[in-house]
Symmetry: C2
Subunit: 334 residues, 2 copies
Amino acid sequence: MTDRHITLAHGNGGRFMRELIEQIFARHLGNPELDVQADAAPIDLPAGQPMFTTDGFIVHPLEFPGADIGSLAVHGTCNDLAVAGADPLYLTLSAFIEEGMPFDQLERLVQSIARAAEETGVRVVAGDTKVLPRGEGSGVYFASAGVGVRRHELDLGLNRISPGDQVLVSGPVGDHGVCVMLAREEFGMRGDLKSDAASVLPLTRAIRDLPGLHFMRDPTRGGLATVCHEIMHATGLRIVLDGPAVPVHDPVQSVCDMLGYDPLYLACEGRVVAVADADTAPQILERWRGLPGGEQAALIGSVDDGPQRVEVETELGGRRILEELQDDPLPRIC
Amino acid sequence: MTDRHITLAHGNGGRFMRELIEQIFARHLGNPELDVQADAAPIDLPAGQPMFTTDGFIVHPLEFPGADIGSLAVHGTCNDLAVAGADPLYLTLSAFIEEGMPFDQLERLVQSIARAAEETGVRVVAGDTKVLPRGEGSGVYFASAGVGVRRHELDLGLNRISPGDQVLVSGPVGDHGVCVMLAREEFGMRGDLKSDAASVLPLTRAIRDLPGLHFMRDPTRGGLATVCHEIMHATGLRIVLDGPAVPVHDPVQSVCDMLGYDPLYLACEGRVVAVADADTAPQILERWRGLPGGEQAALIGSVDDGPQRVEVETELGGRRILEELQDDPLPRIC
């Protein structure tokens, strides 16, 4: 495959497209349900509530320490199903490939998709490829859609949050955002930080059956601050974060200090924010801390019926208001 | 909304993105299942075999006579479910929007999505928006994924095709391809031809329960010729098309004659190719001809165990070999 590149003819429905699909997509993503000659794939669903979601991926650069746009396309969509309380089961993948993209790189990304899907226990059952003229696109964009199944009785949602609830996070925030930023050459910085991109399914499975768990979300674009604003908008309640309690890796904090970013707004791709009643919060902490990736889980705040806003308690005991994200601190992050 | 444009901040997860989703996507696509605050949507499936598919859309220009990239994003994915014998029920929509795109145009396209979904009887239950920097992208790309349900007993597929089967098409070929081409300014041509983009669900519903129906496919990228090659590759059989029997609108044929295109390779977005046994073929013709959009349905060829290739009988009684599409006659067609 060395030295081969994607051409516009790889998108026209003819021989080159058939070969691209056979040699790269079907070869690495092959499974009994993936019939590249079919228009739609039959999927068998176990008992429970089927759930459906989608996500698009334009991260730049395409590859960075710890992950790439391929694994992100699997984890991003599966994590949306996981935080909704479901087991992700099936994925579809739509690829928008730029003319001139090296076959080698595309193949690495598809291999990464295959690995991430296997780790998460999902199967890619259908796909589509389109080729964009050189200059449009930047290598490749992916859109993935996922179907999963949730236990019928499970009731999680913003509507279940009430005053007195506690807010928890499964691990340090901002690793993914800083890692992608450092991987961009324009910043001229290098670090040994890795993206946190991963399946959060083990974390959600471990706690989703606790009756006092009210809500879960993965803090991606806009970070932890944005999840707090989503809760605030939906409930009309106040969220008070305990600033020093929010786990942040030292190198992430250092980069943020240097460049003037607030880690609370930076994207994670492998963390979970949970909201639960006060009795349940310690159980969540205990369960998460016993899992890989959950060692630094922390209780980071609470919900009350004070004025509708998001506040952060500072190290010195003061409080600042955490504004809703407006300008873009880090575009193309997922 | 006049004079407003998409900015990078509309993709960052914060306030502008929330407003974009509320004011355009949720406003026009609203339905009980579309909860823009949720990570994944619960979907209720009737009895039967669930089917899952996806499709990407990069058509240029975004709007053209008879359709646009929005309605195409609905019909393309729903038609894949329809030709697989399923009733499409739920869609997800992933939008990649270029910085600078006018709000007005995006809103028109989302309204078109809403209309097409209502006509087809599907609901858009989840979505995602990403913003591409100006110059990347060309207005907007969409990826849609669809879930539908097929009757359990229904058995359609390339594996059911055998020698003696007849090939039918539900209407004239190439309208969509020529219409999109004429809408591109570089051709300097104008016509009153409209795209055939439409839901094929009424056409597939009308015939899918005939036991002698073996296979259906919508001839999109690569056109009728490509569907014939897909059948040939999968079955090892010969397909013989009756050239003069293939319905082609006069203006499509004229444009093809002028520019040197073969209508057999041009995309349709609202036609169905069916393969059935000889007893069933006349029943399909009769049912299709009684439906809007099926008036010009025709028996256009047959499958036999001659040498593995696609042949076309010409008006003069000769035969030519229809080669597999290699170079791209019309990129960015869907």
